[in-house]
Structure formats: C-alpha cells, structure tokens
Amino acid sequence: MTLPVLQVRNLSHDFGGLRAVRGYNLEIGSGQIRGLIGPNGAGKTTIFNLITGIYKPSEGEIFLGGKKIDGLPPHRIASLGVSRTFQNLLLWRHMTVLEHVKMARYSKIRYGWLGAFFGTSARHREEAGIEETALHLLDRMGIRHLADQVVLNLPYGAQRRVEIARALATEPGILLLDEPTAGMNPEELAQIMEIIRRVHGEFGMSILLIEHRMKVVMELCETVQTLDFGAVIAEGTPGEIQNNPRVIDAYLGRERAE
C-alpha cells in the first residue's frame, strides 16, 4: 500500500485562549471520500483552514503524500495539491466563469513576467493550452455554456459548480469540500451530489467533505468523523455514526441547550 494522500497527526489550534481543534488525526487514502460532521462551531472549517495553510497550527503535523506541508503559505499548499471550496462561496465577483477556472492554473504557468508583459509566442501557446483545459473542465461540470458569464449573475447552483471546477483546475491530490450543499433546494442538491460522485469516479479524487445533511453523508462517504468542541468524538461508517449515542447527544444536546 502506498502512502496516504493526506495525513494529519495530532493537530491542535488555539484562538486566543480557546482551543478550537484538539488532537485531530486523519488519514485519507487515494480515492477515498471521508466525511466530517459536527454541530456548528465544532471546528470543522477551522480544520480545513489549518490543512490549507490559512491558519498555522499550534501543534501537530500535516503530510501530503508524505511531504510535510504545515507552515507553508496557502498558495504553496494549494499548488502542491490541496484544493478546496468555501462554505460561503468565495468567487471573484467581476470575473467570468472561464477566467475563474483559468486562474486556478496559475501555479502551472511557465511563461513568466516577461511573457505576461510582452506577449511572447510561448505565452500564447501556454494560454491556449490553459484555455483548453479550462473549457474541458467546464464541460465536465456541465457549465461550458456559461463560460463567458460574470459569476455574479449566475444562479446559486451554477456558482457552486464554478467553485468545484475551479478547485479541480489546480489538479489537486485531494479536494476539501466545505458544505457544498448549503442553501440548496432538492433539485440542486441532487445535481451537486451527482457532480461530487462524478469527481470521485472520473477523476479518482480523494475527498474530504464537511456536510450538515445526513442524507448526503450517508450516500457519499465511506467513513465519517464526528467533531464536537474541536475533538473527534466518533469515527466509523455512516451507519455506525448515525446510531452512536455520543453523536446523537452532541447534536441533540446542543439543540436542547439552545
């Protein structure tokens, strides 16, 4: 067996005096889909921000394909192969769909500054290649017809697809999806699940998925971790998790307290 794609060891993070993540461990093999669930404020997105380098972990280590990545700046981690989407859709409001996907090829660009200023032929060749790759990806996501639209004008479901297409354009080894179904109606939900399945099937992508909807987790994930107050309280198949009393307590107990 080869190295796991992503390995997180004993990860902890403090905000001021508050320990937001404690002793988090994760191992994702090639082509696996893992789920990460937990009540609001449990630290799920913080874990994503730690893995992608937005926060520097207080303790612990992160390895991508055996290479230590914690402490690197976010764009380095991204170009090494960790890509993500954001819970509240961080798109570039004045850019078109195609430009979004092309932008994610940034770290692959070889023509350099002089090429950018003076439009060398190497640059034109490379830009054409980037465009082709980007259009191909848009095709796979079923949004090629929107290529020249500015993202701000698109419906919500299409914006989600743009974000996933953009994330895939970095050619990641692992994809982190932060609540990809948040705020979707049932129809959009079915479509986005289909997209995630396709990404997993056709691209053979390893995926770490934060999700609130049990239905999505049940259908997509092989194993699930449940997080509460920054620590994993249960880990197992979706079926096991669903019946775990501690998980039920974490969700229901929180609601009762509110």
Binding site: T52, I54, P73, P74, H75, A78, S79, S83, R84, F86, L90, L91, W92, R93, H94, M95, E99, K102, M103, A104, R105, Y106, S107, I109, Y111, W113, G115, A116, F117, F118, G119, R123, E127, I130, R166, A167, A169, T170
Partner: protein, 421 residues
C-alpha cells in the same frame, strides 16, 4: 433616420476611420488657413475651436462651419466611400502576423496625429501631454482599478522618474553649470535617452516597493495613507536635495521628447499593460482584488502579484514622468503634489476602472477638456469636478469600466454588416 445614416459606418474597419481622419487633417493643412480667413476667424481653430467659441460666442457658427467643412464632412465622406477598399486592405493586412498589422495601423494613427499637430506648436505640446496622461492613467489603473487598491503615490513615482531621467540627461549631455561640463556628446543622447527613461522607471519601481511591501499586511484606507505618506516623503525629499536644486526645480532638459518619441513610449505602455492584464498572471490582480483568500487557495502567489502590480504601475509612471520632464524641460517638486494626484485620479475614475479603453478615454477627455475650457479660467475647475461628480453618481465605476483592448477584433475587417462588433 439617424440609424440609417449610421448604418453604412458600422461596417467601416478601423483602417477606414484612420484613412478618413488622415484626409481631414491633410485637408486642414492644405486649405485650413484660407478657409479660416474666409470664415472670418483669425487663425485656424487650434483645439477644435473650443477656446474661440468660449472667448467670442459670436464666432460659434463660423467655427462650427469650419469644423464641418474641414473635419466632419471630408472624414465622413472618405470613410463612407472608402469602406470597401479599406475592408479589402484590412483583410489583406489581417493575413499578415498580428505585429505587422498592428504596426501599419499605428503608423497610420501616428500620421494622422503628426499632420494634425503639425499645424501649431501648441497642438504638439497638448498632444504630447495628453499621451503622457494616457500612460499615467493606465499605469494608475493597474493599481487602483485592476488590483483595487486606492494608491495615492502616483505623482511620487512620476517625480522619481522625472528627476532620475533629468539628472542623467542634464548631467551627461548638457553643459549645465549644475553638474559641470557635459561629458558625453549630445549626438549620443538620442540613443541613450530611452536608457535614461528606463532607469527613471526602474527607480520609480524601486519606490513602489515601499508601498508594495506594506500592502502584504494591510489594505484599503491604511494603504491609502501609506501611499500618501510616500508621496509626501518623495516630494519633500526632492525639496531637500540641493544637487537637484530643491524647490527651485531642474531646468534645461534636452528637447528629446518630441512627438514620435512620446507616441512610441505611449504605444509601448498601452501594449504592455494590455498584454499584462489580459494574461492569466495579470488576471491574478483581479482575483486578489475580488477575494484574496480564494486567490491564495487557488495557487495564486498573492505577494508576488501585489509586488508586480505596484512595480509595473510605478515603472510606467516613472517613464511618463521622465517624458514629462523632457517635454516641459523644467520640473520642480510642486509638479508632483496633491493637485497632480487629484488630476490623475480624476482621469482614472472618469474613464473607467479596470479598463484600458477607459483609461485612454479618461486621460484624453480630461486633458483635452482642461485645454479647451482654458478661456473659462478659474471656472474650468468648477465644471470639470462637477462633470466627474455626475459620472460618479450615474456610473460609479466610470464611463467605460471593465474593457480591455482586444487587438485582434479591433483590427479585423468588417465585411459582414450584420456581424456587429
């Protein structure tokens, strides 16, 4: 009706318009003076007659007649009649490599400007200053529009370029008492002038670092202040440097920034900025502006991007400053203050953010308006701000925002009337 009149013109290629303009300006050179005399005007209206009309309102019909007879009618006729041949030539040209096609168009554009400006020294001066304004506006748009930072340091960059280039040319080629006898022959100067300008641009780029590095950690208002502080520092640094004569200013720059030189540099600037902002590397500026965190997550090196934008913008501001110094042949620190900043900002925001077209339109219209309204004296500075306020209220991102030059489609022949664009 108006639509019908306009329709034939929709299939005129850019080349056709240039032909029309060339005929009009040539006609003015040949017959402008007698015609002006015939119409009872003292001399040919220098800037499309704006100042004549403002000074002596009685002459308005005559000036309009002149404009019609010299510019509008000949240009319209030639453009219309020449549409088909122009399309033929444009189509033939289009088969050549883009560089050749573009060069022919630029040569024609230059010819139009050259003939037009040849009528008076004033026109040459205004045209050169306008082209420099285009460079400044475009380079500021890279930072304020494309990257969305409110940078106030542009006159500072310009000053660095202006003084650096001036010191080099005066010191090396001009026998000024300031730096002792000239050590190099002025004949060499023409060839080394570009080097002086580039060095001025590089010095400005170096200055750009002082704003770019703080921009890693802060944005918006604080960066605006940092850039403003930078402007004050540069200005008062120059005021305190005795070897460039402090507040008295530097004069005696050699007269090397003639129209072709300024035109070439402007073309180079527009071309490289347009190239840059259309490349994926350049689009990273937009990504950093619209959402920095997402840019980072999508492998964009945001620090490198910010540095590039500031250094690139500052470079062209420096070159423009160098040209400005050699057009005016005198600079003092007062040239590069808040007033100048307000002017450049006005051009950028009037024309349109994130837009090469907009920058050209903004710079040209504000410069020409400034000259045309000169007879109104002080009221000029009430009318132009009012105009800008109206633009801001009705089009907050400027007249033509978010439009880059697509050279290929611009130079395309327009054989199909229905095609459009």
């Amino acid at each position: 009706m108006a639509g019908n009149l306009w329709k034939p013109y929709s299939r005129v290629p850019l080349l056709g318009w240039f032909f029309g303009a060339l005929v009009a300006v040539t006609l003015e050179r040949l017959a402008g003076a007698p015609l002006a005399q015939f119409l009872g005007l003292q001399k040919i209206p220098v800037l499309f007659g704006f100042s004549d009309m403002l000074k002596t309102p009685v002459s308005i019909p005559n000036v309009l007649l002149y404009l019609l007879a010299v510019y509008v009618v000949p240009a319209a006729a030639v453009t219309r009649l020449g549409a088909s041949p122009a399309n033929g030539i444009a189509a033939a040209l289009y088969r050549f490599p883009m560089a050749v096609t573009a060069a022919v168009h630029l040569a024609l554009l230059y010819a139009v400007l050259h003939v037009w400006a040849g009528a008076s020294d004033y026109r040459v001066l205004v045209l050169r200053l306008t082209l420099i304004a285009v460079m400044l506006t475009l380079s500021l748009n890279v930072i304020n529009g494309y990257m969305g930072e409110f940078s106030c340091s542009h006159p500072g960059f310009m000053a660095l370029g202006a003084y650096c280039a001036s010191v080099l040319t005066i010191g090396l080629f001009v026998d000024a008492e300031l730096f002792g006898a000239a050590s190099l022959s002025p004949a060499l100067g023409r060839f080394l002038f570009p080097v002086a300008l580039v060095l001025g641009g590089l010095l400005a780029s170096f200055g750009g670092l002082f704003v770019a590095i703080p921009s890693f950690r802060t944005r918006g208002d604080y960066l605006a202040i940092i850039s403003l502080a930078f402007l004050f520092i540069v200005k008062s640094l120059i005021e305190n440097l005795e070897f460039v004569r402090g507040p008295r200013g530097l004069s005696g720059q050699p007269d090397w920034a003639d129209l072709p030189t300024v035109f070439l540099w402007t073309v180079l600037c527009v071309w490289s900025v347009n190239n840059f902002v259309r490349s994926t590397i350049g689009k990273a500026l937009n990504a950093v502006r619209d959402n920095e965190m997402a840019a980072d997550a999508m492998t964009v090196d945001t620090r490198k991007t910010k540095i590039a934008a500031f250094l690139f913008g500052a470079f062209w501001a420096g070159v423009a400053g160098g040209l400005f110094a050699h057009v005016m042949r005198y600079v003092n620190p007062g040239n590069f203050g808040i007033q100048n900043l307000a002017e450049v900002l006005a051009m950028v925001y009037f024309g349109g953010l994130n837009s090469v077209y907009g920058s050209i339109v903004g710079a040209v219209s504000i410069s020409l308006l400034g000259e045309a309204l000169r007879p109104l004296e002080i009221f000029k500075w009430i009318i132009i701000p009012l105009l800008l306020i109206l633009v801001m209220i009705f089009r907050p991102t400027g007249l033509i925002a978010f439009r880059d030059l697509d050279v290929a489609s611009l130079l395309k022949p327009k054989a199909n009337p229905g095609e459009g664009g």
